[in-house]
């Protein structure tokens, strides 16, 4: 496959460096289970 090198390189540069120990926030939905899941 032909990869657009420029895009790939740009993507590398755009990647925001994550601080060490970064934990992504939980997805907004679905919410917590209050009793049990069947």
């Amino acid at each position: 496959p032909v990869a657009k090198r420029a895009v790939a390189e740009a993507a590398q540069h755009d990647k925001v460096p994550r601080p060490v120990g970064f934990v992504p926030p939980p997805p907004p939905c679905p919410g917590k289970i209050r009793h049990f899941k069947i």
């Binding site: 907004p28 939905c29 679905p30 919410g31 917590k32 289970i33 209050r34 009793h35 049990f36 899941k37 069947i38």
Partner: protein
């Protein structure tokens, strides 16, 4: 620069929970049969702004059946959620609400309920009794025997059956039927009913007195019946409508 759109509401945000509480109260308030349902999980929430302080909200809710019959005066927060091993029943509801000036109102709701699979229950509890269908002959026999037993022993009003709430049957180690059903007081005493039960009528709405019975009938190895009926007392504005014939 235009204001950034508000961050999407999370399913556990206080506002989502407030909307879900209004939705669950509406669902229980508009249900006439079976049991009260409690919120188990907010599956999804979508908001369509309509203008200043005016949103349309779509909720997807996951509910669980409680042990309180729908005619019970017990507040929902005091109703126990049916445990997993009692063969739980889940309700999936889609609810459309409107929020105007901070106040929620339900525009529409659609729910369907389904019992947990037998395999799930037996995997956790191999000897647990499983839900049976209402037209199961052992269920009908047990309900009839239990109501007759109660009416033969009570000094109070003669009770008539309103509906079977649920029934479970265990086949091993003993053969046991466990039934729950809703009842209503009639205008007869139990003694009067002995002569002519057909003449006994449910009390009119302004005097109605509903109740609930739970019974256990050991069918094998030897028959043994225990019945417990409780009347709620008159509840103004609470009425019972016979289920349409086509509802299961």
């Amino acid at each position: 620069a235009p204001a950034a759109p508000p961050a999407p509401l999370g399913c556990d945000d206080p506002e989502s929970e407030a909307a879900a509480a209004v939705a669950v109260s509406y669902i229980n308030g508009h249900s006439h049969h079976g049991y009260k349902f409690a919120l188990n999980r907010i599956d999804n929430i979508r908001i369509l702004p309509q203008g200043p302080n005016n949103d349309i909200i779509f909720l997807e809710l996951d509910l669980l059946e409680t042990t309180c019959h729908i005619l019970s005066p017990t507040p929902l927060q005091n109703c126990t959620v049916r445990s997993f091993t009692e063969h739980a029943v889940e309700g999936d509801c889609d609810v459309k609400l409107q929020k105007v000036d901070g106040k929620f109102s339900v525009l529409a709701s659609k729910c369907h309920s389904h019992a947990d699979s037998s395999e799930d229950v037996l995997q956790v509890c191999p000897e647990c009794p499983l839900l049976a269908t209402w037209n199961n002959t052992e269920v009908l026999t047990t309900v009839t025997a239990a109501l007759n037993d109660h009416n033969s022993k009570t000094a109070d009003a003669y009770l008539k059956l309103l509906e079977i709430g649920r029934a479970r049957i265990q086949y091993a180690p003993a053969h046991v039927a466990l039934v729950e059903f809703a009842v209503a007081a009639t205008n007869c005493s139990a003694a009067q009913a002995k002569d002519n039960a057909e003449a006994c009528q449910l009390l009119p709405d302004d005097q109605s007195n509903y109740g609930f019975c739970a019974a256990t009938m050991v069918l094998q190895p030897s028959e043994d019946l225990t019945v417990n009926c409780q009347l709620y007392g008159h509840q103004p504005g609470v009425t019972y409508s016979q289920p349409a014939q086509d509802t299961s």
